[in-house]
């Protein structure tokens, strides 16, 4: 771990090159580096012990998982959620924008004709291969109708590979969602304003 910063001078007039001298590997003293490291961790250890004993645990950054859960920000990009309309049906119209925008190509949609002519198009198969998903949130940004969102959950263990290809039933109606998250955009308001 070199401690001497290397300087890169860019001489403006003539383009002379400055040779950088670095100490040879075998003659470097590593002791000071190690000492600083020990000092830092030691200080944090002592502080933690003191705080837990003196009854002020909230100052401590560590969390007692799983009894306590760390509170992530609302913009946290966790597992995907397919939002639903008021009547519980999927909001997604299978427009494939999320699949197009996804850098990992892990969203596969098959669209089909909806029998209600005002809906026209909806996905009969919507799968996200979570093992390939990088949770970048591009799909959420691409969706024009707030149909897919990155929810707050992140602890989603699974046993064999197939569990990790989430289908519509899981994405929109898994138990934690309690019947589906109703989307922000209210259907009727959209048509009333004629937008």
């Amino acid at each position: 771990m070199s401690t001497a910063g290397n300087t890169m001078t860019t001489s403006s007039a003539k383009s002379s090159v400055v040779r950088v001298q670095r100490p040879e590997a075998d003659s470097t003293w590593y002791l000071p580096g190690i000492a600083i490291g020990l000092w830092m961790t030691g200080k944090r250890l002592v502080l933690n012990l003191v705080e837990t004993l003196t009854g002020r645990p909230d100052r401590m950054p560590t969390v007692n998982y799983p009894e306590q859960k760390y509170e992530y920000s609302p913009r946290f990009k966790g597992n995907h959620v397919l939002t639903v309309k008021k009547d519980g049906s999927l909001r997604c119209t299978a427009c494939m924008l999320c699949a197009t925008n996804c850098p990992a190509d892990c969203i596969h949609i098959i669209a089909s004709e909806h029998d209600d002519p005002t809906v026209e198009k909806y996905p009969i198969r919507y799968e996200i291969d979570v093992l390939r998903c990088v949770f970048c949130g591009f799909c959420e940004e691409a969706c024009p109708v707030d149909a897919i969102r990155m929810g707050p959950e992140w602890q989603t263990p699974g046993v064999n590979g197939s569990d990790f290809v989430y289908d519509i039933k899981h994405l929109a109606y898994r138990p934690q969602l309690k019947g589906g998250i109703v989307s922000v955009l209210d259907e009727s308001e959209r048509h009333k304003a004629g937008i």
Partner: protein, 519 residues
């Protein structure tokens, strides 16, 4: 020839060309919807406004004829403003349902808004509500709200298919395209209206919601539906082919193609193809690669003489005929080569525009090859030879599009009388699967996967190039012949898809280019 300047560039045009044709010929962008090179001038979308020197008012380019020394400009601020407002008027009553519209990605409104619009709409009033998902006929669906009333489809049914099914009913912005409800849009060229519709008003039922167009690549080839040989463009991706659209070719098919040709992609996809070779003898079936099966057949054929018969259909290329006929003539030594004509009664029929009764792309090429090699055997000689057993092995190059061979099952039964049957085809069929006796099935490449030349009814040679590969092991007839001879297979032709310079054209951003953001 007339000289005129388009946007400051000096160009020469023929007498009587309109300004928009001059722009078109010199590849200069001009905003337009209702003008179509194959239809009459409507002049209703009012987008192709240009400024002509010496004329205070903007003129529409589609109806103004070029005169000598005319200076035309469509880049001036006044024209840009006019086109911007023209687009605004098109879009104020347009339903923003791009997510559920099949035309998204190749829509005239999207493209030209990005090129000429890029404005913030000030329309906050309620939009005009019209009929959605209207069933116009067996193959076309209409959405009146998306329709910009450019009247291309109406002019098409009046001028090209001459069936007058479509009309614009009501008046003003309550106007809607439609058919009289007793007479649906079901002429043989109805899907052309879907191609020329610049927006998503008319969409094809067959392609409805099946794929997004930016996931499709396209490549030009020749339609194998009938002997007219229309130039077409096939849209495909990894999962197979999705649809077929016509390509302009002045001498052959103009801008149009028939509806039956639109299904030409269906028998090429994996689900209707023979995937691997099968040798059935003594009730036991053995699966192997096509090359292996062909080599085995080749050993039996060598020098077998007259006891071998060959049945050919008109769906193969001239090169393939040349290879297989010379092989059968010299190395097999038989002259019993038969031409299987699928529908003799309507063979010569012609519907006046494009569709011909002869449902094979290369009948003329086959007939020429037969004459060149001196084969003139008649079909009845085959039936008689089969019944007397004088033909032991029968090699059949089966039809590629079984849809247009109504007598397919009957013929299969008839040809199965031969003691040893070798059936080479690209499409699978239940009739072939149930064949008893000694049968060898060899999968062939479809016209999408091989290069070659077709000769259409008028003797015009048109070449096709490999577009993609659907069935890995399939062979073309030339490769089968080299397998018969036992030679090693040369490197299978590189699947080019389309030449380098074409990749830049059309859709830039799709899953194949893998260069995100190259928007």
């Amino acid at each position: 020839m007339l000289k005129c300047t388009l946007n400051g560039r000096e160009v020469e045009v023929k007498e009587g060309t309109t300004i928009i044709e001059a722009f078109y010929q010199n590849k200069i962008d001009i905003a337009h919807y209702c003008w179509h090179p194959g239809l009459s001038i409507a002049g209703v979308c009012r987008l192709c406004m240009v400024e002509i020197e010496g004329n205070p008012r903007l003129q529409i380019a589609c109806n103004t004829v070029v005169t000598e020394g005319m200076k035309v400009n469509n880049q001036s601020a006044k024209v840009k403003e006019a086109v911007k407002w023209g687009l605004d008027f098109h879009l104020i009553n347009h339903p923003l349902d791009c997510p559920i519209c099949d035309q998204a990605g190749e829509c005239g409104l999207q493209d030209q808004y990005m090129k000429y619009g890029q404005y913030d709409s000030e329309m906050a009033e309620a939009k005009q509500k019209k009929h959605k998902v209207v069933d116009l006929g067996p193959r076309v669906v209409l959405d009146s709200e998306r329709c910009i009333l450019c009247s291309r489809c109406v002019r098409f049914t009046d001028e090209v298919s001459k069936t007058n099914e479509l009309g614009i009913f009501n008046r003003g912005d309550r106007a809607e395209i439609g058919t009289f409800n007793g007479k649906p849009l079901n002429n043989k060229y109805s899907l052309n209206t879907v191609d020329i519709c610049p927006v998503g008003a008319l969409t094809s039922k067959d392609f409805r919601f099946r794929q997004r167009v930016w996931f499709l690549k396209d490549a030009e080839t020749v339609c194998t539906g009938c002997s007219t040989g229309c130039n077409i463009k096939v849209h495909y991706n990894r999962e197979g082919l999705f649809r077929v659209k016509p390509v302009y070719n002045a001498e052959v098919n103009g801008h149009w193609m028939c509806d039956e040709g639109r299904d030409v992609y269906k028998f090429v996809n994996k689900e209707s193809r023979l995937l691997d070779a099968r040798v059935v003898s003594g009730g036991k079936a053995e699966h192997m690669t096509a090359f292996e099966a062909a080599k085995r057949v080749g050993e039996k054929l060598k020098g077998a003489g007259k006891s071998v018969g060959l049945v050919l259909t008109g769906s193969y290329t001239v090169e393939e005929y040349e290879a297989i006929m010379s092989y059968f003539k010299t190395e097999v030594g038989t002259d019993r080569v038969f031409h299987w004509i699928n529908n003799p009664e309507s063979f010569e029929s012609f519907d006046g525009l494009l569709l011909r009764g002869d449902r094979n792309p290369n009948t003329r090429g086959l007939v020429q090859a037969l004459q060149k090699h001196g084969f003139s055997a008649q079909w009845k000689e085959l039936t008689e030879a089969l019944s007397t057993g004088s033909i032991q092995t029968l090699v059949v190059a089966g039809p590629e599009n079984q849809v247009w061979f109504p007598d397919f099952k009957v013929k299969v039964a008839e040809l199965a009388k031969a003691t040893r049957l070798v059936w080479m085809t690209s499409g699978k069929s239940s009739a072939l699967d149930e064949l008893k006796g000694e049968v060898t099935l060899i999968p062939l490449k479809s016209y999408i996967e091989k290069s070659g030349t077709f000769v259409n009814h008028a003797g015009r040679a048109q070449s096709i190039r490999p577009v993609t590969s659907i069935v890995k092991g399939a062979l073309s007839l030339t490769e089968v012949v080299s397998a018969f001879r036992g030679e090693a297979l040369q490197a299978t032709e590189v699947v080019v898809g389309r030449s380098e310079n074409e990749i830049g054209r059309g859709r830039i951003h799709n899953e194949f280019t893998l260069s995100r953001g190259a928007w």
